[in-house]
Symmetry: C2
Subunit: 298 residues, 2 copies
């Protein structure tokens, strides 16, 4: 196993332990609800977003333990969005990460409520996060406000709406990029900006990291579309070709497969250049993560 | 019209104007999503919770304009919970406040996302709320953390789960109180504690206001059940007898109608005594609101 894979695995374990602890420590939660939250929150997955929070904090000299509650919060937001996206009235998916989706196991009502509860908890975790650290409360408030914008109507939720509205019709490349910028890009950008903010990034560091994040987010989405065409079902946890079968516009459909892969490579190169040119950062992990993504063909 | 009715109407208008402004100022929101959010957020209603935020702030000498973003946030949380509760997989209600429910107008997917967006925005609004005021950021963080707990798995969302699990079986009075303490009580208690916190309440004032809020929340719920039996459909905005038809346990069913009304009176008297005994507060509005609730037979 490569060093980066070991790093990713270890960070994922740190995040999972913290998520597990947080779920366990909540009081007065009905058993079924806690189970439904746990089912999706601890269902494995790459933990890319929380790891980006930790890596960005580390890059600017922050402490992992200070960034950890914020990393967990981002993963809760991501998980709630998956639970709701999978619902019958949305994407109607039965399988996620190789297991039945939340509503298939717990029913629709419980799945909606487990999602609501995870989203709600995410903000509580961030608000509490400052307690255990030397973070300035005003900085935490600004980060919470940004998290709300990037994950709400102005960001991720708005992106999901755009995605639904783009189904069953052909859309332009610009429109597709707009959908993904909000649906998946905003939360990835936020993850890195959040880690940077918690870690005490300077303005110029934050700017470089934001540019890095935006390119990484787009590369990640294109790569996801590529995998949907060429990947194997077991590795990606959902049926291969499921985008096409739903008449979803994808990068391979609009750009072709080879050009899509070229885009990924180009975006990752740009992202890495941005980081390197900023200077004064320990950008090794973020660079490795970006590289790792481009070879992630399964 | 009584003075308290004029007061409630004026405060409701202040809140509605602020909600309208906030929705309008959000950028990059898809039109349909903004419409779906607006449809339920500006659907009228008593605005009890945000008014409690304002009145509690006022009672301890706080400024209305500082409390207003927090009042709006609570109303957004309340509204999202109504949208999700009305969904076919939950209470399956077609009518709310005399109008078709959100999913009847915009479809299930959009209703779920509008709820998600309102919940997400609520926390952003609170995090931004400190910007426009002299509130200590650390205090705001503590209030956000409490809001998350009282509206999430440990509070309101957990209460909704308990409520679903209590359907179609007979439950004890203790169990019914437990359901309502989290499902509706926690957000009402939070509204008052939030206003008090924003307004700069002392510890003893906060304690008295919390006791007041807990009794008021319970009284309000019992009164709601009573209205479901005796009210007229137009006034309560949903079909009379809808609880019974869904086999929901209610206070009138467990205590009888007359005893339920006695409970309301007793709880309100206790609540007012608590306020009066605390001293040093301008408790006139809160007292009037509590009184107004007990005569609210339509």
């Amino acid at each position: 196993m490569e060093a980066i894979q070991i790093y990713l695995k270890q960070r994922a374990q740190v995040v999972e332990k913290a998520l597990e602890r947080d779920l366990t420590e909540m009081t007065g939660v009905p058993d079924t609800l806690r189970e439904a939250m746990r089912y999706s929150l601890l269902a494995g997955g790459k933990r890319l977003r929380p790891i980006l929070v930790l890596s960005a904090a580390e890059a600017v000299g922050g402490k992992e333990e200070e960034a950890l509650p914020f990393a967990c919060a981002v993963e809760m937001i991501h998980t709630y969005s998956l639970i709701h996206d999978d619902l019958p009235s949305m994407d109607d998916d039965d399988v996620r990460r190789g297991r039945p989706t939340n509503h298939k196991v717990f029913g629709e009502a419980m799945a909606i409520l487990a999602g609501d509860a995870l989203l709600t908890r995410a903000f509580g975790l961030m608000a509490q996060g400052a307690r255990y650290s030397n973070l300035e409360p005003a900085r935490v408030l600004a980060l919470i406000a940004e998290g709300s914008a990037r994950s709400g109507a102005e960001g991720m939720v708005g992106g999901q709406v755009k995605d639904i509205q783009a189904e069953n019709r052909s859309i332009s490349l610009e429109e597709l990029q707009d959908v993904h910028r909000s649906k998946t890009g905003d939360l990835i950008t936020y993850s890195i900006r959040l880690g940077a903010g918690v870690g005490g990034a300077s303005d110029s560091q934050l700017e470089a990291l934001t540019g890095f994040a935006e390119r990484l987010g787009l590369a990640f989405q294109i790569q996801d579309d590529v995998l949907d065409v060429i990947g194997d079902q077991e590795a990606i946890g959902k049926p291969v070709g499921s985008d096409e079968s739903k008449n979803k516009s994808t990068y391979p459909a609009l750009l072709g497969l080879e050009e899509s892969r070229n885009w990924v490579r180009r975006l990752v190169a740009e992202a890495k250049d941005l980081l390197a040119s900023a200077g004064g950062m320990d950008d090794r992990r973020l660079t490795e993560i970006a590289d790792y993504l481009t070879v992630r063909d399964r």
